[in-house]
Amino acid sequence: MNTESADMQRVVVTGVGALTPLGEGAEALVRALEEGRSGIRFLDVPWAKSLNSALAAPVSTPVESRFTKLRRLTLDRVAQLALLAAGEALTQAGLDFSGDEGLHCGLFWGTGIGGATTLEQAYHESFLDAQARPRPTTIVAFMANGSAGQLSIEFKIRGPSFTYSSACSSSAVALGEAFLAVRHGRVRYALAGGSEALLTLGVMKAWESLQTLAKPDPVRPETSCRPFSRDRSGFILGEGAGALVLETESSARARGATILAEIVGYGNTTDAGHITQPDAGGQSRAMQEALRMAQLAPEQVDAINAHGTGTVVGDGVETRALKIVFGDRAAHIPISATKALHGHLMGASGAVEMVAALGALQRGIVPPTAHWTTPDPACDLDYVTEGARALPTLNTLMSNSFGFGGNNAVLIARRYTWAG
């Protein structure tokens, strides 16, 4: 696919925000990953005993208290997380969209489920009592585009808005599509990212049935997710939000904004094979497309943020896909799977991991793949298992996100340098 044209804009990142199981703010996320701190713990909820295991990666920030009761009427937890992460990103970017600039900003948001808490509450009441009346705000709180709508209202973003739902790649797709929209001049600014809040009884039980969740380690449960390790057994469900402000280089420079990084490539492919099983062919095509768009050779990628969920099948397939794209060099690229520490944030994963990747780029330190214990012949690359690694020459970083349904989204970011 040829996407190059003379009038394309360089796309830069001027703000990031994150609210994750590793704390509030992008900085907290990046630091915790570097330090190898895990956000995984047993949920302290009354219904925990209904689960095989209540091990999860919840956001411990008191999110609700940041909103008035009146405001909360229409805000599911997923939108509350979105608003807080986006607020951080927009504050850092120094943008105010209440005036005409708001007409030039697009909104690109990803979520796997949307307002799971609200929907489950309505179902719960309705199934238990035929006379029950769900709250009048149920629909607007659980609809998939609820977060995007609330973000637009809060920040007065009045350009085009889109909600992407492709399971675990949702917010990577949102970022990629935002990147294209800025690059091709559709919008000057984009607020892009994703949020997910699905630590509810029904959703967690459904995941348990699918048998992709990690077995809890009896001694150190916080280490239960072990991507690329032979003893891996699955992922840990988490919640959170990640947000980025993208804009044209010319806009950022004209207003004197601090440029954090540049987004240079995006690939998106579909496996068309199986609804859950990943496919190395589809994944590698997405990586190759991102490289092509970025006009980069495989040798120019310095580090990779893997999708790396910690499932037996998934990590092996991703390793094969990396070998297809990078050949012999695959073994020499540091690969981090941060889900071991922040859990699998589903639709929010791609954005949160891009925030982490940009932190790595800025600091020249790649985060580790934590909790790795044992080599696996099917996963024989450099997964940075010893702890965070200083990589002073780190310039270009690829981030992979693959979703159920067979969607593969790959983003490439690099340190920003002005061409003059």
Binding site: T68, K69, L70, R71, L73, T74, R133, R135, P136, T137, V140
Partner: protein, 76 residues
């Protein structure tokens, strides 16, 4: 109840206070009417009633209470 459920202040909630100015939009008003129904065991008529102020809500509830023969002391 507006103070308790919506986090408004006593000063804000006066009979002449306009709901819109309190941030209580149409959705929040419906939500509040549901709460009132549950609290006082009332049944709204289902007919649209123009509710613009806190006083409008109080009058509507008073009307329904009389119509439906409800004793408020028992409901709470």
């Amino acid at each position: 109840m507006l103070v308790e459920e919506f986090g408004l202040t006593q000063e804000q909630v006066q009979p002449e206070s306009k709901l819109e100015e309190l941030g209580v939009d149409s959705l929040a008003t419906v939500e509040f009417m549901f709460m009132l129904e549950d609290k006082f065991d009332l049944k709204m008529t289902g007919e649209p009633v123009p509710l613009k102020t806190v006083g409008d809500i109080a009058r509507e509830v008073d009307t329904l209470v009389v119509q439906q023969g409800i004793t408020l002391g028992e409901a709470d």
